[in-house]
């Protein structure tokens, strides 16, 4: 039955409120307001990061203004990797404990991870066109990043099929195997000959203090945004589970 894996705890009387709310604190009004606080803090921080990226950070000599793409491109990649790490952990916990809350967390983080990987794949070519003269090259890092995006888009497509526990298990296995691509992407610049810049946040990476401060501000703003989006996305999953339960009991 579709709701078998949705039932959070057998001890509670089964109503749509107990079924869908596996993280009760997320529906607490205080938490809702804290989540909104994260959203507002993210917006303000993005405004500051944008100001720093456009006016505070110095213009790079060889690439000019196009180098400023880097301040949001790199944090997008870091947040995507972090999101897929959460998917990985939540999928392992789901396979181990078979609790719907881990499945919902994995799905929510995967969707946000795909969004941030999309940003990486959209902004990277803009930078590449100026740096390399081409929007895309089949470089190791670019190719492995594209593969990562395809793996997790596939994961989301799999999640779109019939709502069963078996689908959730298959998806969890795919998410765990797919996460192996993240360290491959990270080390690709060392494993293969590649055009993509290596570690940019080291002293040898050529960043001035103003550039590093801008990068860190942008990273903070995307981290706040990620927390906000993740809370909202899990709350959406809880609401959907309640609707599914109500639908089944109405039939």
């Amino acid at each position: 039955m579709a709701t078998n894996h949705i039932a959070a705890t057998a001890a509670e009387p089964t109503t749509h409120k107990s079924v869908g709310v596996y993280w009760k604190f997320l529906d607490d009004k205080k938490i809702v307001w804290i989540a909104r606080g994260f959203g507002i803090a993210a917006l303000l921080n993005i405004a500051v990061a944008l100001y720093m990226a456009l006016w505070y950070a110095p213009t790079e000599k060889t690439m000019g203004h196009a180098q400023r793409i880097f301040y949001f491109h790199v944090p997008s990649a870091w947040i995507a990797f972090f999101a897929f790490f959460i998917v990985f952990i939540a999928s392992v916990l789901f396979l181990w404990r078979r609790e719907r809350k881990w499945d919902a967390l994995a799905l929510s983080a995967a969707e946000i991870g795909v969004i941030f990987t999309t940003l990486v794949l959209l902004t990277g070519p803009m930078w590449a066109k100026v740096a390399w003269g081409a929007f895309w090259v089949w470089d190791a890092r670019l190719t492995t990043t594209l593969i990562l995006w395809m793996i997790y888009v596939g994961y989301l497509m799999l999640r779109g099929t019939a709502d069963t526990e078996r689908r959730s298990r298959f998806a969890a296995v795919l998410a765990i195997v797919g996460f192996l691509d993240v360290p491959i992407i990270y080390f690709s610049v060392q494993l293969w000959r590649t055009q993509h810049p290596e570690l940019l946040v080291t002293q040898s990476g050529g960043l001035t203090p103003a550039m590093t401060q801008t990068l860190m501000t942008a990273l903070l703003s995307f981290t706040l945004l990620f927390i906000f989006l993740l809370i909202e996305r899990v709350r959406l999953e809880q609401a959907r589970d309640q609707v599914n339960f109500l639908r089944e009991t109405a039939e």
Partner: protein, 41 residues
């Protein structure tokens, strides 16, 4: 400069679009939940 504008524009479109999509889906789920709750009572 134009590539920078395109890149930042794409970031804005994707993030605003995604946040809006979560909001829309949440409203739809809440509406449906309210309808089903009233039917079940």
């Amino acid at each position: 400069m134009e590539y920078l504008a395109i890149a930042y524009g794409l970031i804005a479109v994707v993030l605003i679009g995604y946040a809006f999509s979560i909001r829309q889906r949440m409203s739809a789920a809440q509406r449906e939940r309210a309808v089903l709750e009233s039917k079940n009572q």
